[in-house]
Amino acid sequence: MKQSLVAATGVLFGIASFIALISFMTGLNQLLDGLVMNRSPHIRIYNEIRPSDEQPIERAGEYAESQNFVRSVRPRETGQAVRNSAAVIEALRKDPRVMDVAPKVSAPVFYFSGSTQIAGQINGVEPLIEKHLFALQDYVMEGDLRELKNSSNGIFLGKGIADKMMLQCGDIIQVSAAGGDPFVLKVIGILQFGLADVDDSQSYTNLRTAQQLLGVSSSYFTDLQVKLHDISLAPALAREYAQQFRVDTLDIQTANAQFETGTTVRTIISYAVGITLLIVAGFGIYNILNMLIYEKMDSIAILKATGFSGSDVQRIFLSISTMIGVSGGIAGLVVGYGLSAVIDQVPFETQALPTIRTFPVNYNMTYYIIGMLFSLVTTYIAGIFPARKAARIDPVIIIRGK
């Protein structure tokens, strides 16, 4: 009885650490994924600067069949705008696989304030769509995105720029596009993404302000950011749109290939550690049941003498190990949940993650189900061999031995 308790405690620890570990690891994964994935469009549609696929000589009838060598090819000047953007946006919004499209204008700019000058990038966006699709709100330190939408001269600065130029909300900043006149804008918000590169260079305005700054029309967009209902369709749809609209596309999987690898590795590690713990617990159960059988030889002998068959005895020992598995497993889930809740309360404040206050924990039912299944499977496997051994015990040998 006491040993069964020890065995159940072993299972408890295995399951509890599995749950705590995997909840924490996947919580961390989701956080890091969110950091990049939430902010990235599933498909980015843009216009890459590059030479024409077809050079004029290839259209000339007499040389069409020849092997033509053209040296010093220069990219064609087509601008960075997505061609025919209005029609593309309309088509995309009608596509049932698409959640929404966020058009964006981004361009390199210089920020001036007093005598300081910083190079960076301005992003003209639809603030509310951006908030909805890319959780822009999570990175707002000061200011209100609705104000950005309605303001004709408002700008949200990356925290790095604001710090360097000693600017606060309400201050004035001059921004100029390459080859354009400086524009006077008012700082109405501060953003912090937690990535120094981004915070030191990026700023946000609404679409109209950025387009005016660049001196372009209101249908000029450099990026169409597409968010899908099902992220796994991104590579296929990216190819489809590239053909259909004759544009350049980049899907999130291709853009963040190395990121996926990190996520996968962390998940594998959590499972490996959790399963190792359970296997160790399994060996504990195996040992304890084996000992139990040696201790209960007499009981097994008398049960067999009085008419219990080998399979009856096997069933008894299997039910003991199943009981250990079920009780240890359930207790493990409870303790694991408790541990996760504790981890969830541990303060975790970092400059890089402005919206995070405590360690991230992922309370996903699936891990609890996996934990329970695994505890049952381990205890069953750990129990079946001792139980078989008990089933084979010859009562005559035991009774003679007394």
């Binding site: 009885m1 007499d298 009981s299 002998a301 008398i302 049960l303 067999k304 003498a305 009085t306 008419g307 219990f308 068959s309 080998g310 399979s311 009856d312 010859d394 009562p395 005559v396 009774i399 003679r400 007394k402």
Partner: protein, 231 residues
């Protein structure tokens, strides 16, 4: 005359370890219903070995074994287990009570396997048997709270729970003092007289044997006498 409760025909059994030798040599015997039979012989003469063959727990023998006229030789392990459960009660030198169950539960175990009666009925029958043996007041104690003699009586109650055709004992008084041995013998005597219970008891206690109905004597694995010289 009805057929014997138990019949053995030409039972031969060998042990091979360390060298092959014949422990039982063409043993034939039978026990009639209601008989109280004892098996005696020197230590090492093969008494226990014979009892285990007769009990169906040892199947590694030549010859034939019949219980109530039906042949048990050659049956499968689970069929033999079922036959033991229903027809044979055991009392060994050691009591073999399960320490984690109460006295009453211990008595009930073979009946729970048989499942002839429901739980309430089984519990009532167990109580009845404890009462016959004068230990009804101990029913709710744990086995380790009982004296050696009391434990052996619980073991007898357990052997009786399924109304077996025959009760087999291997030195059932071997661990008991004279007083408790006498109590156990008196119980056996009373069961055979009053309930017509068939008994086959291996013993090296000549005094015990002389008071049974019939003595079978073994020597070097052979029956050297079988008769009613006792009494």
């Amino acid at each position: 005359m009805s057929q014997p409760a138990l019949e053995a025909r030409n039972i031969t059994r060998y042990f091979h370890d360390p060298v092959t030798f014949r422990v039982l040599d063409q043993v034939s015997m039978s026990v009639a219903r209601g008989e109280f039979v004892s098996v005696i012989g020197k230590s090492g003469s093969g008494k226990s070995t014979l009892l285990y063959v007769l009990s169906t727990m040892d199947t590694d023998y030549e010859g034939e074994l019949l219980l109530d006229g039906s042949r048990l030789t050659g049956r499968s392990g689970s069929e033999l287990a079922a036959a033991r459960n229903e027809h044979i009660g055991f009392v060994f030198q050691f009591h073999y009570l399960l320490s984690e169950f109460s006295v009453l539960d211990n008595v009930m175990i073979p009946a729970q396997k048989l499942q002839r009666y429901g739980p309430a009925e089984v519990s009532k029958r167990a109580m009845e048997r404890l009462d016959w043996l004068g230990i009804a007041d101990q029913a709710y104690k744990m086995p380790n709270q009982l004296s050696g003699g009391q434990k052996q009586r619980v073991a007898i109650a357990r052997a009786l729970i399924n109304d077996p055709l025959i009760i087999m004992g291997d030195e059932p008084t071997g661990n008991l003092d004279q007083k408790n041995s006498d109590i156990v013998f008196d119980i056996f005597r009373r069961l055979t007289r009053e309930q017509g219970q068939t008994m086959l008891v291996v013993t090296h206690d000549g005094d015990f044997a002389r008071r049974t109905d019939r003595i079978i004597e073994l020597e070097d694995g052979r029956v050297i006498s079988d008769g009613y010289e006792g009494r």
